[in-house]
Amino acid sequence: MHPAPSVIFFTVFSGIGFGLLTFLGLGYPAVTGWSAFAFFVIGYLCAVGGLISSTFHLGHPERAFKAFTQWQSSWLSREGICAVVALILMALYGAGLVFFGQRWGLLGVIGSFFSLMTVFTTSMIYAQLKTIPRWNSPLTPAMFLSFSLAGGALLAGQVTWAMALIAISGVIQVVLWMQGDGALKGSGTTLATATGLGTNGSVRAFEPPHTGTNYLLKEFAYVVGRKHSMKLRTISFVLMVVLPVLLLALPFSHWIALVAVVSYVAGTLASRWLFFAEAEHVVGLYYGKR
């Protein structure tokens, strides 16, 4: 799949933002006044910034409001609704903390629930696609949720939670990589089933339908990342798991925490780039690209 920067930024930053809002909603850290204001600004910058970035890949962003209508069937529509509900609830909850010094606990818990549901619905947009066997797995929502919670814990300054969640997300990530490498083969979709010609003999793509490129090849047959896949996986794992956990194990200081956050975000961006770049869409089979 083509790794569109807008979607990579969106999933990473809105994931971390909603993760932070989840922790704030549950009262970790239990802040009020100006320090609550600072936490909520960071959470909203990440979450809303990510959402705005996601509209950059739309052909007609001016019609985006129509995306709230099809929640009965579409995960993308459900994501939009969850995001708006979460942002409204958390704004009310945040206003209570910042301006009135009050913690409206139930509102915070519901806001946290919708924040996590936003991340879950985002992940289901990818996990539902049978056409991309690497994503079509329960591990995809597990990975998105664990990354979001780990990032949220890190920004919320919950050191113990952050270390545990980063370690868990690291394990899920490695299993997802390993499982994903055999996913296309395991799906049973091949050029033979794609063309129905497998009963006659072995099938080979002889000539493509067009001499130039097209939307399908640009969007679905991205193969640039494959060559350096192992190196990128290692870099990403070190940045998002090894370094942050080691830094958090040191005596706490804001500077060390900042380095841990930067390292975590960089590693997650690399991982998310690989998530798209390595994903094999079955339509590539028709072009002999798999």
């Binding site: 052909g59 007609h60 129509k66 099809q70 009965q72 056409t131 010609l197 080979r204 339908p209 079955v282």
Partner: protein, 252 residues
């Protein structure tokens, strides 16, 4: 609505005969022509005369080589367009309701004024049947020429999809799969019409007829005709001028 209908009154679709298709791409061109000039946003070409030409097409013809374990390889031309699936994954993922499957005839369409161009339907389609138009930024797909098949302004013989109407080999057939007596249902039954990627669970309406086995000319190792012995070359060795030339050149 992007929820799929439980069933459709009719199931309009195509039968594509892989035995008959000659790979001339006439269906590709007639499709592009009709669908650029008629319903919906035109199908854009970008840099058409430059170094990186690209364009939107609703129908494309691939070519595959099939090598049986015994005998000669076969070349199969393989036209591919929307299969108007009964369980169309492209429809249910649409967040705006722009994609829908019609209850009356099962055609899968895009309401272009509702399309936000998110591209998710193209991600969900295993067949590459949907292409985002680079200029209009909306999703384009085969409409089964919905603006031809019911169009009473056209002569009756033209009320079928442009690709079917134009195919010089008669490799494309249009009809109603819900009617067991229709031409397409009969062809599918007679020739073992097949689904593409059945394991994806999309239940495509369009069917593909597999190529028939090729004639085996090489059987009988050598003799292809009872008269063959009488047709042996008369002169085994060159004589005359050519013979002299042959010998002279050998000596050099």
């Amino acid at each position: 609505m992007t929820t799929l209908p439980q069933s459709t009154e009719r199931k309009l679709g195509l039968v594509i005969d892989l035995d008959t298709c000659v790979g001339c791409h006439a269906c590709v061109i007639s499709c592009k022509g009709w669908n650029t000039e008629n319903y919906g946003a035109p199908l854009a070409d970008t840099d058409a005369y430059g170094s990186d030409p690209s364009g939107t097409f609703l129908n494309r013809v691939h070519s595959y080589e099939v090598q049986p374990s015994q005998g000669e390889a076969q070349l199969i031309h393989f036209p591919k367009s929307c299969l108007h699936c009964e369980d169309a994954p492209c429809v249910t993922v649409c967040p705006t309701g722009a994609s829908y499957k019609r209850t009356e005839d099962g055609i899968v369409l895009v309401n272009e004024s509702d399309c936000i161009g998110c591209g998710l339907c193209a991600w969900a389609c295993p067949y590459g049947a949907r292409e985002m138009d680079a200029v209009e930024k909306v999703m384009k797909k085969c409409t089964l020429c919905v603006d031809r098949i019911y169009n009473e302004n056209l002569p009756e013989e033209d009320r079928e999809p442009a690709c079917v109407r134009t195919c010089p080999a008669g490799a494309r057939h249009f009809g109603d799969f819900a009617d067991p007596e229709s031409n397409v249902s009969k062809l599918t039954a007679e020739r073992g019409g097949m689904d593409l990627m059945p394991e994806q669970g999309t239940k495509p309406v369009n069917k593909y007829l597999p190529p028939r086995p090729k004639d085996t000319l090489s059987e009988g190792a050598g003799d292809i005709d009872i008269l063959a012995p009488y047709l042996e070359p008369v002169a085994q060795e060159a004589t005359g001028f050519l013979g002299w030339l042959d010998k002279t050149l050998e000596k050099l």
